[in-house]
Symmetry: C2
Subunit: 243 residues, 2 copies
Amino acid sequence: MPNPTAAMLVIGDEILSGRTRDSNAHHLAGQLTERGIDLREVRFIGDEMETITVVVRELSAKYEHVFTSGGIGPTHDDITADCIAAAFDAPIDVRDDARAILSAHYEARGIEMNEARLRMARIPQGATLIDNPVSAAPGFTLKNVHVMAGVPKIFEAMLASVLPGLSGGQKLLSRSVLLNRGEGDIAQTLRDLAESEPSVAIGSYPAWSGDGYQVNVVLRGSNAAALDRAVVALKHAFPEARE
Amino acid sequence: MPNPTAAMLVIGDEILSGRTRDSNAHHLAGQLTERGIDLREVRFIGDEMETITVVVRELSAKYEHVFTSGGIGPTHDDITADCIAAAFDAPIDVRDDARAILSAHYEARGIEMNEARLRMARIPQGATLIDNPVSAAPGFTLKNVHVMAGVPKIFEAMLASVLPGLSGGQKLLSRSVLLNRGEGDIAQTLRDLAESEPSVAIGSYPAWSGDGYQVNVVLRGSNAAALDRAVVALKHAFPEARE
C-alpha cells in the first residue's frame, strides 16, 4: 500500500513579506517522514479569505491530510477558522467546549475574557478540538484538515497531539555517504545506480568544505536490502566514501 | 499602479523530506519586499517532472514573476531546466554560450568537462543566462520565470544579478511597536485602528518574554502619513508602547 500523502499550508502575510521566517514546514516535514506520511507540497499564502478558502478546498481534495499553520489568534487578521468553515460550508460560531477551555485558562490566571479572546473559541461545526498545552486556545481538525497555530512552540505541541491519531505508512530508510569530489565527477555513477536500483531514491547535495568540493549522497527507500546494495556499489566506485 | 506580483517555487525532495531546511524563500521574501514586488505565494514541490511543469505554467500565468530554486545541477535528479522548457514548449539542448562559460571555468581549474557537467549547459531556447559567480553553471530566465540554483550561496548571488533588471513598485514602509500585553488585550483596538486607517496593514505577533506576554504590532503601508497617524493612535491607547 502506498504511504498516506499530505500537504501543508503556511498562512500569514508576515512570512511572505520576509518579516518572519517560517520554521513549521521544516518541523512538519521531519515529523511526517518519521511516520511514513509523504509530504507532497507546501504552500505559503497571505491572510486573504478567498485565497485561503480556495487553496484549502484544493489541497483537501488532493491529499489525505492537510496541515495548516497560522491565523487562529484573537486579532482581526486571524481568519483561518472562518476560511476552513467556508471551504467546507460548515457553520461556525463560538463553541461551548472551546469556550470552557479558554474560560478555565483565563480565570486561573486572572485575565478577563473579552470579545477578542472569545474569537478563539470560534470552531466550525463538526470539528474535533486539538489540545494546546501552551496557551489553551485550541486548534481543530475538520475533515482531513488539521488547523494549528503559527507560533512554533504551539504548532509543535499541537502537532504532537495530532500525529499519534494518524495512520502512518512504511517508514523511509535513509543512508548517507560523504564523498570528497565534485557532483560532476559522480553524476554518471549515480545515474547508473539509480537505474540498477529503481526502489532507491538517490539525491546528491554538494557543499564546499575548506579543502575543496564535497558531496553528500543520500539514498532513501523502504527496501533495506536494496539500500544496502546501493551503498556497497557506491563505496566500491568511490573507495574514499565515508558513511 | 499596483506593485508587481511574484511567486516562488522551491524544488527538491530533500526539502519535503525534512532533510534540508530551505532558506531561499525567506531570503527572496525580504529582497522582494525591499524592491516593492509583492510575493504572493511560495510552493515547495518534489523532483517530479509532471508536477514541476504544471505548476510552473500555472504560476507563470498568474503572477508577473516566478522565481525557482533547485534542480539545476549535473545529476540525474536535476530536471528543472527540462521542466521549464516543457512548460513553455521550448526546445532545450546544450547551448554554446553556457558551454563556453563552463569550459572556461573547468579549464582554469584543471577539472575535466564530462557528460554530467555538460548537462548544466542545457538551456531552453530563448532564455537569457543568469550569472553564477560562485560555481559558473548559469541559471536562466525564460519568459517571466527566473531559474536559479538551490544552494543558498549560489541562489543569493544569482538573485542579486536578476533583481536590478526588474521594475519594482512602491516600497512598503514598516513600523513596529512592542507592547507588554497579551494579544487578547489589544485586539479590539487593532481592529478599530485597521478600520480607521484602511491603507495600513496591521499585524500582531505574540511572544513570551521571561516577564510575561509581549506582542509586536507591525504596521505596513506605502502612505507614510497614515502610518504615522496609526502609530500615534497606538501609543495613545497603550502608553507603555515602545517603537
